[in-house]
């Protein structure tokens, strides 16, 4: 059944027990992204080891989100894949994931690079769900880009870094 390809066990596992969930401090950038089609939302924070360095290691990604299994699981997998990597490495993984899920099923995805992310290859066959899979990733891209050069926020006052 096709559905099992979409909802692979790995996806359901991440959905039921998401990794790195919750909003943590400190962080240099926070973004809020929505999927206007279905109203799914994610608030996501990025903390870089060295915000003055565009090649910095991603120290932490924390988030609070509301959404379907695909968007929740994809965000969880994303945090596994980018935390501890340098920004250029993280962006490369992001590009590879994006390419896979927008390929309409023509690109399987490299397990070496994408880890649990390859489970989302099935999403590519459901074009209406691609945005779900990318919600958290796009939020990360946005937050990570603005974290570079940003100042560290501590003390839970959302303003300042919120955009």
């Amino acid at each position: 059944m096709k559905l099992d390809q979409l909802y692979q066990e790995i996806i359901l596992d991440h959905y039921r027990a998401p990794h790195h969930r919750g909003l943590r401090e400190p962080f240099q950038a926070q973004v809020h992204h929505v999927n206007p089609v279905c109203g799914d939302e994610v608030t996501l924070r990025v903390r870089l080891a060295d915000a003055s360095d565009a090649g910095s290691v991603v120290r932490d990604v924390s988030y609070d989100s509301l959404g379907c299994s695909i968007s929740q699981a994809a965000t969880s997998v994303m945090t596994d894949l980018v935390i501890g990597r340098t920004l250029p490495e993280a962006f490369a993984v992001l590009d590879e994931f994006t390419e896979m899920v927008t390929s309409r099923g023509t690109i399987e995805g490299d397990e070496e690079a994408l880890g649990d992310g390859v489970a989302f290859a099935g999403v590519a066959k459901y074009p209406a769900r691609v945005k779900c899979a990318l919600l958290g990733w796009m939020a990360f891209k946005d937050a990570a880009s603005s974290a570079v050069g940003g100042t560290e926020v501590v003390g839970s006052n959302d303003e300042g870094a919120q955009r």
Binding site: R21, C38, E41, R129
Partner: protein, 450 residues
Amino acid sequence: MTNSQHQRTGDRAGVVDAVEFARLREDFPILDRTIRDGKPLVYLDSGATSQRPVCVLDAEQEFVTGHYGAVSRSSHQLAEEATDFYEGARSKIAGFVGAGRPEQIAFTKNATEALNLVAYAFSNSAGYGAPADPSSPFALGPGDEVVVTEMEHHANLVPWQELCRRTGATLRWIPLGDDYRLDLSTLDEIVTRSTKVLAFTHQSNVLGTVNPVDLLVAAARRVGALVVLDACQSVPHQGVDLAALDVDFAAFSGHKMLGPTGIGVLYGRYELLAQMPPFLTGGSMIEQVFMDHTTYAAPPQRFEAGTPVVTQAVALGAAVDYLTDVGMPAIARHEAELTGLALQELGRLPGVRLIGPADLTDRGGAVSFDVEGVHAHDVGQILDDAGVEVRVGHHCAWPLHRRYGLAATVRASFALYNTADEVGALVDAVKDSQRFFLGAGTTAAGGRAS
């Protein structure tokens, strides 16, 4: 008269029982197709857009292959015939919604454009820098108020927000109650002497709630406000007499009433249309043009700038014939039966919360619900896998969803071609989604984030 050549679908007046309705399915070839891996299509998304009977396509083909030309512009025979078809369609649609004269019907691209047309008429009446003529019914400015409701489709909310932004008027709204109906307890404080427009939907596209048009019109009349009715979800499903409802304007879309995409309808009280400034300008909507100014044609041409939606109008005329032949009272009864069944069956599933009135009183056939612990998108995916096509999301009514603490719902909506078996397929698929995501009695942690 060329319009008489139009083929009626046969005399179906009086069909009422489910067997006859099931037979109508033959008129909709798409209903025979399958979905995903060979599942029969169960189309429960007519609230978003309805399917089209063959006679609508036939009418379009007959017109295009036999009578097509420029309407109202040339004097050759084809132009005359095309104009007859176009104006004939206008007359049919006028008759269908109780408009006294065809000139009360203007064709637009969709209902959204029709609502924008009215909203822009208000700001255009300000005369670009000059203050609005205070005697104009369309004069609007700071201190004036526009009233909508919390249940509106974005199409009947955003144009009014924008109008207020352009004119300095204030937007107010009638809140929703916990019973999924408008809370009219403070109506007199919301609709006041400052109110210039009261815009509301006849039937909610999410809740199914049918609003008390008479009460709302009376409130508007007491203070001299104009009434704009969003009739998108009522005109396709029940007999609607806009003149009897006494509204000033109404809008609906062709594609939700068995007609084509690309056509919407604006209905207006003629005296008001006659005073209303245009929205879009250009060819076909003029009376006289000089290098420095222009005078405008009478309604409805004033509101149909450019080459109009001729082919779509002819096809919509055929859709209206089809609906009339089946009979709107019979359609309303049939859909009420399906709605009642869906409310009953879904209502007794544990973990399913109906978002809308639970019984058929003042209620139409949009059945929205939330499945506890399973996101609407995921429910929709399981339903789709079973061939059941519904809409998931906020259905272009985000504030309504926010009011009930929801990000998204699942909506099944019915049309005359649906059957009781299809309601059964829906209910079974909802149960499947619970089994798939919740397993035996467990609740997914991720369904709703903190």
